[in-house]
Symmetry: C2
């Protein structure tokens, strides 16, 4: 049986997305057949214009509308702290806390030798360039606590304290705390998390 | 933090899809930022043109490119058997078996009083109209074996045998067999499926 070409095309487009298999792609496509054309137009043009209407901020490398982005050009933000994250989504997560008022640096990945991603494939050089301008007093390493994220954090920490122009007064390098997630039950915590929580215990 | 408008728009579009939550919508959107523009254009135009380039076949009500659809207008298909399914995707599933050479009828739903979907909200009237033309010898009820699908099958069966012009010679009404799925283990089958498999046992 020949399936309608327009349907087939959309199924194939959905299938290319990560985490969406053939069945989900079919389901989404047939769902969209019941959606008003105006909504399809919105969705379609949002896809087409996604990259046309966004730029990468040349300073923090976050996805933004302007270059420099609204965060980097905000005079109210603390220019002396840089929070280093793997992905633009991580910036979003950090911003939702409302606790951080410094700047960001998006690496767009993590060091992962198994996938042929070395330090030069992600934006570490750009981070070091920013730091070597001398204004930065603290670098918060907020990469994931996966193997790759830890390796990236370790690599950056070593590079930062060895930065040539700053060897006399290198910026402080910190890492996000690991421990029990808030609202989590002790009995369900894995050993590694619990060990970290114990190591990092604080006076109450 | 203000997220780029183009990004926000696409996240919102993805969120409206069934089974896609805010996190997945974000993940898909940021994934698409790394995809070449040509692929975004393909995806976007596939969404916009989905409904423009498809029609509902006026006979079987399947989604198709032409009206009547390629199945209904195929002279090689058996015009005397109609397989009744809930959704266009079910036609696809049936066609993949390669076993069925008759016509289809897509109800676009199932009777579900809890959701205010009665017999008149789905395309049962059109099915009865087709049958009352007198050509049909068998109606295969291939609705799902959910409560709604069973109710729909029962309703259609009753309506078909009561069809006025055919009361002397009503078409045969059959239902897809229920039983153990091929490749499934007996020990994991639920009681209802196993009872149905026992009821429907055949001479080996």
């Amino acid at each position: 049986m020949k399936i309608a070409k327009a349907v087939q095309r959309l199924i194939e487009s959905f299938e290319r997305l990560p985490g969406i298999g053939p069945k989900t792609a079919q389901r989404l496509t047939y769902y969209l057949l019941h959606v008003p054309q105006s909504e399809l137009d919105l969705f379609g043009s949002a896809v087409i214009n996604l990259k046309k209407e966004t730029v990468t901020c040349s300073s923090c490398l976050n996805i933004a509308e302007t270059d420099p982005c609204s965060l980097c050009s905000d005079p109210d933000r603390d220019q002396t702290i840089i929070c280093v994250v793997e992905q633009p989504l991580d910036v979003l997560a950090m911003e939702k806390t409302g606790m951080f008022k410094g700047l960001y640096h998006v690496l767009h990945g993590a060091i992962s030798p198994l996938n042929n991603i070395g330090p030069d494939e992600i934006f570490i050089r750009q981070l070091l360039d920013r730091i070597s301008q001398g204004q930065v007093e603290e670098v918060i390493l907020a990469t994931n606590s996966s193997m790759e994220g830890e390796a990236t954090a370790m690599y950056i920490q070593r590079e930062v304290i060895n930065l040539k122009p700053l060897t006399s007064n290198p910026p402080k390098v910190t890492r996000l705390a690991h421990g029990l997630p808030v609202g989590g039950d002790l009995e369900y915590a894995d050993e590694v998390t619990l060990s970290r929580a114990l190591e990092g215990r604080r006076i109450y």
